[in-house]
């Protein structure tokens, strides 16, 4: 299934896997968790990829930090939003042990700095005029910073998948809050950008890739997603960004759209894009991002 398009991308991923088991953003570069996670999802359940996946898991397991988070890359000791990607990987591969539970616990503990007592007090005192709704706890790129769309989306996907097994009220509450944050940050045009819909009372435009990601977070909330879906379908028709097109294809298929198979082409040199294009193919593993509503 998937023909040349999908096979060339999977083969390309297998060919550029690093000796440490991970993938870099580009061939020959150091391993990072983000492209590694997408490559593992793209190769999931592919018989020819079993050994590669096993090597990748050894790296992912080694990269978990004592606090339950994951380091961002081979050269980076700090953890970032990629913890959510690692938790999603655990769910997909049925690794429900301590590694995953520590990761889930950490995801539940992290929220954007706008929820801190200091910021809420300053806001209450009128030190600043808030243009964004900051009442919903969501997720930052890095602990201690403010919440933004993409890290929130990945955390929601990770927790929704974890909830299918764990069934915890705290997970449900965080997901519902995260979804509310995503809804609150929608741009005036119906889509989403990185998370700043208005600046100085001027509307900011949405981005195709962010709109796709937001729709993945809002699975199971059709009323909240309706305008975004229309925007995503328009973006899917018009965008020239291969990255955005891949995310849009993944998101629209998660919402039940049937997409045409892309014409055969060689894999891009961008490893993360290669993985996302493989995932996005109608015969690819885009269904791994399907979550439905929170259980």
């Amino acid at each position: 299934m998937g023909g040349v398009y999908l096979r060339t991308r999977r083969d390309n991923l297998l060919n550029v896997q690093n000796p440490d088991g991970g993938w870099g953003y580009f061939p020959g570069k150091a391993s990072w968790l983000e492209p590694t996670a997408y490559a593992m999802l793209a190769l999931h359940d592919d018989a020819a990829s079993a050994e590669a996946i096993a090597r990748a898991w050894r790296l992912v397991e080694n990269w978990q930090l004592p606090d339950g988070t994951w380091r961002a890359g081979a050269q980076v000791q700090d953890s970032t939003w990629v913890t959510a990607l690692a938790v999603t990987l655990c769910s997909v591969d049925g690794k429900w042990g301590p590694m995953m539970s520590k990761g889930v616990g950490r995801l539940l503990d992290v929220e954007g700095a706008e929820r801190s007592t200091l910021f809420r007090l300053m806001s209450f005192l009128g030190v600043g005029k808030v243009e964004a709704d900051t009442s919903h706890p969501a997720w930052p790129w890095r602990a201690g910073n403010a919440s933004w769309i993409e890290p929130t989306v990945h955390a929601i996907i990770a927790l929704k998948k974890a909830q299918q097994r764990l069934r915890a009220q705290r997970i449900r509450d965080r997901v519902l809050d995260g979804e509310a944050m995503v809804v609150s940050r929608r741009c005036a045009d119906g889509g989403w950008n990185h998370g700043s819909a208005r600046t100085y009372q001027i509307d900011s435009p949405s981005y195709p890739e962010s709109t796709a990601l937001a729709l993945l977070a809002l699975q199971g909330r059709p009323r909240d997603a309706a305008r975004g879906l229309a925007m995503a379908r328009e973006f899917h028709r018009t965008t020239k960004s291969p990255l955005a097109l891949a995310w849009l294809s993944i998101a629209l298929q998660a919402w039940g759209d049937t997409l045409d198979r892309p014409p055969d082409s060689t894999a891009p040199s961008d490893v993360m894009l290669t993985a996302l294009e493989a995932l996005a193919h109608p015969d690819g593993n885009h269904g791994l991002f399907r979550t439905g509503e929170i259980a």
């Binding site: 890359g73 933004w148 900011s204």
Partner: protein
């Protein structure tokens, strides 16, 4: 901590009085004297992007004594977002000319690198901004700094370690190919602020919110303390006024501003734009790195008066207006 942290939060979409109180008035510490000697800044007229920009830049490089022989040069344009109705990004013809100038001046290698702050698909942004079609061999010489391999640097803005792209750390000279724009948080975004794009999104996100929590002014200065072997070419042929750096209006100033002291380059750009650089927070903070005072800057080729083009400032920055 409180003030810095609040600005970091503020970038979610909060308009605070922080910038005005900090930049516009109140008691300010005396401006530092700056390093020994004066700084040379070249102001060069270029009415349009159709001008012979290579010749213009070579004149500027000569006026500033730029020497890149045998060096690895990283050209760092300002590529933020694309909107065909305005002028957000460094024009590709300026980048192409700068590339040719560096090769002509004997640079061993010339690279181009950028890490946009909001968009994930840097290559698509570059395509929309016509970088691929305008800059020869762009794909071969360009690095997405957001996804480059990285190395830690110690003691950046009080952080034990802060990660930067290896391409930037390996360069002998980083050339800030900035756009002349107003900025709704910093007052102006010029050669120094352009270094935000040296911070990798793969570690700090999109946007690089960590810098906002460090403090925008503080982060600008910290970046310029870290990257000291630098040169600047500011694209003011068509800049941006009003609600920059993204939602402002195009402003024709018909000028390129060049120099190796980025503080002086930015101070000169401010004076051209009708902004008092001595009131701009990050320039005051950086006054030990370079010269802000006009008396310490040797303006080469053209005088400021010959190119002065007041930019529209948003209300909160009216206090920055040069009197």
């Amino acid at each position: 901590m409180n003030r810095r942290a609040f600005v970091g939060f503020a970038t979610v979409g909060v308009a605070s009085s922080y910038a005005v109180t900090k930049l516009g008035g109140g008691q300010q510490a005396p401006l530092a004297d700056g390093p020994h000697g004066d700084s040379a800044v070249a102001i060069l007229k270029a009415e349009s992007y159709s001008a012979d920009l290579v010749r213009v830049m070579l004149d500027g490089a000569k006026a500033c004594g730029l020497d890149v022989r045998g060096k690895r040069v990283l050209l760092k344009p300002n590529l933020v977002e694309f909107d065909a109705t305005t002028a957000i990004n460094t024009d590709p013809r300026v980048i192409a000319a700068a590339y040719e100038v560096m090769r002509t001046l004997g640079a061993a290698e010339v690279w181009i690198g950028e890490g946009p702050g909001h968009r994930r698909d840097t290559y698509d942004l570059a395509d929309q901004a016509r970088y691929f079609e305008t800059i020869p061999s762009f794909e071969r010489i360009f690095t997405d700094l957001n996804r480059d391999d990285v190395s830690p640097v110690k003691n950046f803005a009080g952080e034990d370690r802060f990660y930067f792209p290896n391409t930037a750390l390996r360069a002998d000279v980083v050339v800030s190919l900035a756009k002349m724009k107003t900025h709704h948080w910093a007052g102006a975004t010029l050669a120094m602020k352009n270094f935000f794009g040296l911070v990798p999104g793969s570690v700090y996100g999109w946007p690089k919110n960590k810098l906002h929590f460090i403090g925008i002014d503080e982060a600008i200065v910290a970046l310029n303390r870290t990257f000291r072997k630098t040169f600047a070419i500011v694209d003011g042929i068509i800049g941006m006024e009003g609600n920059g750096p993204i939602q402002g209006s195009p402003k024709h100033a018909g000028v390129l501003v060049m120099g190796s002291d980025l503080v002086s380059v930015d101070a000169t750009c401010c004076r051209i734009m009708g902004i008092d650089p001595e009131k701009v927070g990050y320039l005051r903070m950086a006054a030990d790195l370079g010269h802000v005072r006009a008396s310490r800057i040797q303006q080469r080729v053209e005088r400021i008066d010959a190119v002065r083009t007041p930019f529209v400032l948003i209300e909160r920055f009216q206090g920055l207006r040069l009197v």
